[in-house]
């Protein structure tokens, strides 16, 4: 066979003096890097993805994973990945796949936005001493309500409110299907969502019965493959999401290979074992905005009017599309920026289609306000939220809530190695191999994810306190409290943010 001309990215090395031959590395590596050579561990470094599972489980710290110093000749134009992909394509004729969000060095607007703080003219508030409210309700709001004072002097609501989903803080989990991630990973999300009073989302993989106890914290998704969709499924959660697109792969469908469809996954998806699960690029009953409206109302009819979310990838014309979605009757518009993660996508798509979420939030929030319909739907923003600061900035730009996925997976061991599509995840997250998924103990890892959410909760409260406000709704869309650093005038104009110093 012709030798692979792409040099390995990483060099897995074992210090033979430190190594005690315990073979834990062999056991832990899902990629088959290590094997037993009779007297020592053998290394096939070309399989290494630097997920660091072996490193963490080596009791002697004998393992080091280093970036391969042997690279192609440095070239400011022909990057390592350009050359590498061409070589791979020359060998296979295929489309190189990837996982996670794009790692290319496009400008990160979040890192060019800074948040305000109080000094003298308005006092900052100490969240450890004063109440600080993050509670958020997702869903359509009326533009006004009618409240009457009864004979007993008590207030009574005369307006019928549309259904609202209460979340204790404006950070929810993005959709990740059973199939793309393991059931244990989904359980971690569900347990943490319940404990933190937020939401997880089934993605397009049906709903495994083990998740039913968490149904009050679950959004079920309907996507182009319609996997697992039946009346019970639609009614199982607190809302239904129609997935039109995903930030990491706007405009294209999904392909879960048959190898990742064992019996349990097949049951949840209602497809035969071992068949490829193909999600078409469009939903074939939605070729236009009026078709979307019909599906939204069909789902509402089927669920006795639960809130319906519509998830779209942030693309160039996102503002007009979102406006159409709101007018079509959606209660929530879920915007997924191009940095958003994926279990599998062609890298050419992931890295070159769509727009960053920061622009999308600003454009959509502006458009809905210009049209006087901002109250008609909540905006959930996702696609590269790395910290509570990103969340605060997204909310200040106009989002009601952010959604996170990569950050949640990182608490389960993920190191963003980007090889989710292989099904070999050594951390038991993006795999269905039983020996790998078994190592992800839902209770242990749920605690870590709960810790993360609580930490962000504290941080958001500190940010609000510094801003001198004590309710999240006073940050939402409050771009006056953001300043741009090093952004050009037009970008600032689109974001509706002043430059620092003004």
């Amino acid at each position: 066979m012709f030798k692979n001309l792409a040099p390995p990215e990483y060099l897995a090395t074992i210090d033979q003096v430190k190594c005690i031959r315990c073979k834990r590395c062999i056991q832990n590596c899902g990629w088959g890097v290590y094997s037993w050579g009779g007297d020592k561990v053998l290394i096939n470094t070309s399989k290494c993805v630097k997920c660091l599972r072996c490193y963490h489980y080596c009791p002697e710290e004998a393992i080091q994973i280093v970036d391969n110093p042997t690279r192609f000749k440095q070239n400011a134009y022909w990057g390592y990945n350009n050359i590498r992909n061409i070589k791979r394509q020359a060998e296979t004729g295929g489309i190189p796949l990837t996982g996670m969000g794009s790692d290319l060095p496009y400008t990160i607007l979040f890192d060019n936005l800074l948040i305000d703080a109080c000094q003298v003219t308005n006092p900052s508030i100490d969240p450890l001493r004063e109440p600080m409210e993050l509670r958020t309700y997702l869903g359509k709001k009326p533009s006004s309500v009618d409240v009457e004072k009864g004979k007993d002097g008590k207030l009574k609501l005369k307006t019928k409110m549309p259904p609202q989903i209460k979340i204790d803080l404006p950070v929810i989990f993005s959709p990740m299907s059973y199939g793309s991630i393991s059931l244990n990973a989904q359980k971690v999300l569900a347990m943490a969502a319940k404990e933190c009073g937020i939401l997880m989302n089934t993605g397009e993989g049906g709903l495994h019965e083990d998740l039913l106890p968490y149904k009050d914290n679950i959004i079920v998704q309907v996507a182009s493959g319609r996997f697992g969709v039946n009346p019970d499924y639609l009614n199982a959660g607190v809302a239904v999401e129609i997935k039109i697109g995903q930030g990491a792969k706007p405009g294209i469908g999904g392909h879960l290979p048959g190898e990742k469809i064992p019996l349990e996954v097949a049951r949840a998806r209602m497809i035969p074992v071992g068949t490829d699960a193909l999600s078409p690029a469009p939903q074939h009953d939605i070729y236009s905005i009026e078709d979307l409206r019909q599906l939204i109302y069909a789902i509402k009819e089927a669920t006795n009017y639960k809130p319906v979310s519509v998830k779209i990838a942030a693309v160039h014309n996102v503002a007009a599309i979102a406006s159409g979605i709101v007018r079509a009757g959606a209660d929530i518009v879920y915007l997924d920026g191009f940095r958003g993660g994926t279990g599998a996508a062609p890298s050419i798509i992931r890295d070159h289609l769509g727009i960053p979420i920061e622009y999308a939030i600003a454009a959509v929030d502006d458009r809905l306000r210009q049209e006087g319909i901002r109250n008609e739907a909540s905006i959930v923003a996702a696609g590269g939220i790395r910290s509570s600061a990103d969340a605060a900035k997204a909310i200040a730009l106009g989002a009601d809530s952010v959604a996170i996925a990569t950050a949640a997976l990182i608490t389960m061991g993920c190191t963003t190695c980007g090889k989710c599509y292989t099904g070999n995840c050594s951390w038991g997250i993006t795999t269905q191999r039983p020996e790998l998924t078994a190592r992800l103990d839902p209770e242990v890892y749920a605690e870590r994810l709960i810790n993360l959410i609580h930490a962000w909760e504290h941080e958001l409260k500190e940010i609000l306190g510094a801003l001198g406000i004590n309710a999240i709704e006073s940050l939402r869309g409050n771009r006056e409290r953001l300043r741009g650093v090093g952004l050009d005038a037009q970008t600032l104009d689109i974001l509706g943010v002043k430059p620092a110093g003004r």
């Binding site: 409240v147 004590n470 006056e480």
Partner: protein, 357 residues
């Protein structure tokens, strides 16, 4: 929606009073009360608002307009003539004061919208609001700073006593008075930037900084308000107009939206109240005024005082006979009412609502 505005920040002192029996009181009282709080301002703005001052023209909207240049006056008058019946035009009487060397041209108009201009279902009040927005945002150098019936605002750059003397506040008689002295930290004095801020018969004096300004402004813009002043006070005034006049909320209910109770308190109420308060917060989240403030807002039928949710700015109230007083400092009340029947500090977020008998 231009985001490149420069927001106006200021600290302040405020005072107000209302006679429930609608007795008309001389402006001298309120001037005395405000001047006691001289050190809460820095001489860059003071003003007064009074209700019941134009009994002879009580059916007409009294437009108080300031013109930076006399030439702008004709542009505005042309617009007014095309849309309003003008009952009377006069320059607002002013008197020379040593400390006030420059002032804009100040003119008042008693007007009524022309019937034929009220097309379709346009309400008279909406028509007037639109006119105010139009003149203030589109005609450079002209500013309508008072537009209610049988009420008026008088304000400018100067100390409380100087502004009072300039307008001869003591010559007016009203049954509700509010007054304000200002401590702007970043603006050169502009006469329009002083309080009270008014729209129709709403008048607002405000002490504080509304830290939620950015979203409050964008929320109001969605309903067609044009925020030209870039002050927190303007936001408060338009918010009241939206909630009370346009959305039909009662004043106490509107206060529950502007200084919403904490969720913890809402959750503790019984079912009906919980539902109502929850719906109010869900719907009016962007109307929540967050940050330190105390506000007095007057209207033709009463006076309301309200604090932010955790009372970060002072507000004291007192009652003597038919008069209720509210001010930043108790001393400002005692300066004109040495022995009130009761004095109290209203709790955070709990409005003091006084209606005329």
């Amino acid at each position: 929606m231009d985001h490149n505005y420069q927001k106006d920040i200021s600290g302040c002192g405020l005072t107000g009073l209302i006679s429930k029996k609608k007795r008309r009181l001389s402006g001298a009282e309120i001037v005395k009360s405000l001047c006691l709080m001289n050190d809460r301002g820095n001489g860059l703005g003071a003003g007064y608002a009074a209700y019941g001052i134009y009994p002879d023209f009580k059916d007409f909207y009294a437009f108080h307009i300031m013109f930076d240049e006399p030439s702008v006056r004709w542009t505005v008058e042309e617009y007014l003539k095309a849309n309003y019946h003008i009952e009377k035009i006069e320059e607002i009487p002013t008197f020379p004061v040593k400390a006030i060397s420059i002032s804009p041209l100040l003119v008042r108009y008693f007007v009524k919208p022309l019937k034929e201009r009220l097309v379709g279902e346009v309400q008279e009040a909406d028509f007037v609001v639109n006119s105010v927005m139009k003149v203030n945002s589109e005609i450079e150098g002209a500013y309508i700073f008072s537009s209610g019936k049988n009420m008026g605002a008088f304000k400018g750059v100067g100390n409380p006593c100087d502004i009072a003397e300039f307008f001869r506040i003591e010559d007016y008689e009203g049954y509700i008075w509010t007054a304000h002295t200002r401590f702007p930290t970043n603006t050169p004095g502009w006469w329009g930037g002083a309080h009270p801020f008014t729209l129709l018969d709403w008048s607002i004096v405000h002490n504080g900084e509304i830290s939620s300004y950015g979203i409050n402004k964008r929320y109001l813009e969605m309903y067609g308000y044009k925020l030209t002043l870039l002050t927190d006070t303007e936001v408060a005034a338009y918010m009241l107009d939206l909630l009370i006049r346009r959305h039909g909320l009662s004043i106490p209910t509107a206060c529950l939206a502007l200084a919403a109770p904490f969720w913890k308190k809402i959750d503790d109420r019984d079912k009906d109240e919980r539902e109502a308060l929850t719906a109010l917060r869900q719907t009016y989240g962007s109307a929540l005024l967050n940050g330190p403030f105390s506000i007095l807002f007057g209207h033709s039928k009463g006076l309301v005082g309200i604090n932010d949710r955790i009372k970060l700015r002072p507000l004291v109230a007192a009652i003597k006979d038919d008069i209720t007083y509210m001010a930043s400092e108790e001393s400002a009340i005692r300066a004109i009412c040495p022995n009130p029947d009761t004095v109290w500090a209203p709790r955070a977020g709990e409005p003091v609502i006084v209606d005329l008998d």
